[in-house]
Symmetry: C2
Subunit: 188 residues, 2 copies
C-alpha cells in the first residue's frame, strides 16, 4: 500500500514561494519548505535535485509572473512611450511588493539556481516589443537592453537602500524615465 503523496509540483512551488516571501532568501531552506508542506526534508529530494533547484523553482515562478504582468501592461498601452513608462512602473511596483522575489531575478546566484532563459522570455518579449515601437526595428534590442538595465538598476538599488544622498527618489525615477523615453524615441 503506497504512502499517499503529500507533495505535488504545484504544492511544492506554492510552499516555496510562501517561505521566500515570508523569510527571504536565507530562510528558503529545504527544512522550512518541508515543514510548510507537513513533511520531512528528505522527502523533497523526490522532487528536487538539491537546494539550488528549489531556489530556481521559485526564481522561475517569479520570472513568469513578472513576464505575465508586463505582457498585460503592454497590452493596455497603445502609445510606445506610455508602454515603456507603464512597464517600468509595474516592475518597480512588483519589486516593492515582492522584495525577496525580485532579488532572485538578476541577483548573484549560483548558475544552477538562476531562472533559465525560457522562464525569462515573456518579460523580455514585452519590453522588446515596447522598445521596438519606441526606437524602431533596427535598434529594438539595444533599446530594450538600455531600458531594462536602467529599470532593473534603479529598482535593485532602491531595494538595497542605495539612494542615501537625499533628494526625492521619485524625482530621480521620473527624470531618468523621461530622458530615456525621450532619448530612445526614433526620429519620426
Amino acid at each position: 500500500m503506497p504512502a499517499p503523496a503529500k507533495v505535488s509540483p504545484d504544492s511544492l512551488r506554492a510552499a516555496a514561494r510562501r517561505v521566500l516571501e515570508r523569510d527571504g532568501q536565507q530562510g528558503l531552506t529545504m527544512q522550512a519548505v518541508a515543514t510548510e508542506l507537513g513533511v520531512r526534508a528528505p522527502s523533497l529530494y523526490k522532487h528536487l535535485r538539491d537546494r539550488d533547484a528549489l531556489v530556481r523553482l521559485v526564481a522561475e515562478d517569479i520570472a513568469v509572473e513578472i513576464g505575465e504582468l508586463m505582457a498585460r501592461v503592454l497590452a493596455d498601452e497603445a502609445d510606445a512611450a506610455d508602454a515603456v513608462r507603464a512597464i517600468a512602473a509595474s516592475a518597480r511596483r512588483y519589486a516593492r511588493e515582492h522584495p525577496h522575489g525580485y532579488g532572485l531575478i538578476f541577483g548573484p546566484l549560483p548558475e544552477a539556481a538562476r531562472a533559465r532563459g525560457s522562464a525569462m522570455e515573456r518579460s523580455s518579449a514585452a519590453i522588446l516589443e515596447a522598445a521596438r515601437r519606441l526606437s524602431g526595428e533596427a535598434r529594438a534590442l539595444e533599446s530594450a537592453r538600455t531600458i531594462t538595465a536602467w529599470m532593473h538598476g534603479f529598482t535593485s538599488m532602491e531595494l538595497a537602500g542605495a539612494f542615501r544622498l537625499g533628494g526625492s527618489v521619485d524625482d530621480a525615477w521620473s527624470y531618468g524615465l523621461d530622458h530615456l523615453v525621450h532619448g530612445l524615441a526614433a526620429p519620426a
Copy 2:
C-alpha cells in the same frame, strides 16, 4: 603570558577578500576565513560580531576600492561626457575582474551585511561630480542616479548572464551609454 595575536584588522580584511574572490559569497564562511588565517573559527568572534559583519567588512572594502578607482578615473578626464563614459567603463571592467565582489555592492543582502553609506560615499562623489559637469548643478543628483542605475543594472545583468537574446552586448552598452550621455547633457 598572552597568546601572540594571529589576527589583525588588516589581515582579517585581506583574508576575507581572498576567500570571497576565490570561493564566492557562499564560500565566505567564518571557518574558511579562519583557516585562511591559520586560526579556528571561534577566534574571529574577538573581531566580528557575526558573519554579517564579515560580509560587511568585505563589502565595504570593495565599495572603497571602487570609489577610489572612480575618483582616479574622474581626475583623468576633463570633458564631462568623457568622464561619464570612463567611469561607466571602469565599473564594468571592475565587475568583470571581481564578479563576486561586485555582487556584494547592491545585491540582496541582510541589512547588517550591506556596506554603509560612509563606505559608498567616494564612488557617489565621483559620479555626482561627473553628472554635475554633464547636466548642471540643478539636476546633478537625478542625473547621477540615472547614470548609476543604468550602469549598475547593465553590469549586474551581464554578470548574471541575462543577455540571452543574441546581438552584441558591447553594442548595447555603447548604444545605452551614447543615449544617456547625449540625453543627460544640459543644453549649452
